[in-house]
């Protein structure tokens, strides 16, 4: 198995593990970590694609895409953490649910 194929499997697994965390973990910070894990998976897939031809230099286009992706990912992470901080300042809620209502949720009362 050449490194690019090996790391493609790893990339896919990292992506799905991240997705699982995003869906199942209730803690806000863990969701953000899981999102980062998902993006790492995508980046790894792209770089593995770029590296598949060992005889020539690696494909620079995915490299450029991943560098752009890293910037996007830190921007999203920073914003999400700031939102968590603001939420924490006024309440003690640390969980965020997708499928169920939070016990204290009053979304319908603007």
């Amino acid at each position: 198995m050449t490194p690019d194929v090996l790391f493609k499997y790893v990339a896919v697994l990292l992506f799905v593990i991240g997705l699982y965390g995003m869906l199942s973990q209730p803690h806000m910070l863990r969701k953000i970590l899981a999102g980062n894990l998902m993006s790492v998976g995508v980046f790894l897939f792209m770089i593995a694609t770029a590296a598949r031809n060992a005889s020539i230099t690696a494909d620079p286009v995915p490299h450029a895409m991943v560098i752009t992706g890293i910037v996007v990912s830190i921007s999203v992470t920073a914003l999400a953490l700031m939102l968590v901080e603001r939420i924490q300042r006024s309440s003690k809620r640390i969980h965020l649910y997708w499928w169920f209502r939070h016990p204290h949720d009053r979304d319908d009362e603007p």
């Binding site: 790391f7 697994l13 209730p26 490299h63 560098i67 920073a78 003690k92």
Partner: protein, 330 residues
């Protein structure tokens, strides 16, 4: 690479997977963050193994360092400001009843397995040969004004993406600003740090070195791994380090200068792009022979903007004063 390389790759892959699973399920949140930082460092190693030194530079600085600073800073504030025992805020506690928790886990697992199967098939069947766009890039390199392929893609072939990438940073800063300005509750002030001889010595030694490295990376970009982005990150890391040792950094800048630094890279892109639109007929189409100079010009301002934006984003959590500089219209 031979068998040694293969074993190394296998181990690396295994460690990556174990780390990623551990970081989701370890009970202490602090441990999870530390594991994430470790994962970032190992990713840097993986990029090197996959012949992507440019990405490795970016990942080591951002994935491991800056993201780590962001998370740890937030954790520290949450545990100390809220005056709650760390075990409450850090550990996995559930506010929901068991059946709902299990239902969530099962549903998530179902979705993930349903997606994992086709993804594994894709990984198994993905073509193992094929050069992607490498030949096309190599053929066009002569006209790009630089000799490093990644820089050519970032600042010539797909320069529009790079403008948008800077815009992403800009909009993140704007969003952070919005959060701060619209905040009605009182803001905590940064914790004053006692003077510390060792830290003072450290930054005095490192500052010139890091500034030199940042400039060096910028210069390297036109012919080998490096460039505006990496240079900007190193610059940002330097300023963040200074801030963490208790020095005042960006707060010292007049507000207008701070705002100007945040948009200079973007406006420069747009001015150059618009000029090329008038002269050459397409946005950011460089004229023959001018590409190298224009790219360098764009890179210098872009790295300034990247550095300022990253510092603002990372320190925005701990130095709210940074945002107290956006005037009201009235």
């Amino acid at each position: 690479m031979g068998p040694v390389g293969g074993v190394f790759d296998g181990l690396l892959a295994l460690v990556l997977l174990v780390l990623s699973i551990r970081l989701l399920f370890v009970s202490s949140l602090f441990h999870a963050v530390v594991l994430f930082i470790a994962l970032g460092l190992l990713m840097g190693l993986t990029w090197v193994r996959l012949q992507a030194p440019d990405v490795a530079l970016a990942e080591a600085a951002i994935g491991a360092a800056l993201t780590g600073v962001l998370f740890i800073d937030l954790l520290y504030k949450l545990t100390h400001r809220n005056n709650i025992r760390s075990s409450v805020s850090e550990r996995l506690i559930y506010e929901q009843t068991m059946p709902r928790r299990w239902l969530t886990a099962c549903l998530s697992a179902l979705v993930c397995i349903a997606l994992l199967a086709p993804l594994l098939m894709v990984a198994a069947q993905s073509p193992t040969t094929g050069a992607g766009l490498t030949p096309a890039v190599s053929a066009a390199m002569a006209a790009t004004g630089v000799t490093h392929e990644v820089t050519a893609v970032l600042l010539n072939f797909r320069s529009f993406d790079t403008l948008l990438e800077l815009t992403v940073l800009f909009v993140a800063v704007l969003a952070a600003l919005t959060l701060r300005v619209m905040d009605t509750s009182s803001l905590p002030t940064a914790i004053p740090k006692p003077p510390d001889p060792l830290m003072d010595g450290l930054w005095r030694l490192l500052l010139p070195l890091l500034v030199a490295v940042s400039g060096y990376l910028l210069w390297l970009g036109s012919f080998t791994s490096g460039g505006a982005f990496q240079s900007g990150i190193v610059m940002a890391a330097t300023i963040i380090l200074l801030s963490l040792t208790g020095q005042r950094t960006l707060e010292l800048l007049p507000p207008l200068v701070w705002r100007a630094l945040l948009v200079v890279g973007l406006l420069n892109f747009i001015v150059v792009g618009a000029a090329m639109l008038m002269l050459e007929g397409a946005f950011l189409q460089y004229p023959q022979g001018w590409a190298g100079g224009l790219i360098l010009l764009l890179e210098v301002t872009a790295s300034l903007t990247i550095a300022t934006a990253l510092v603002t984003l990372v320190l925005g959590l701990s130095v709210p004063a940074m945002f107290k500089r956006y005037p009201d219209p009235r």
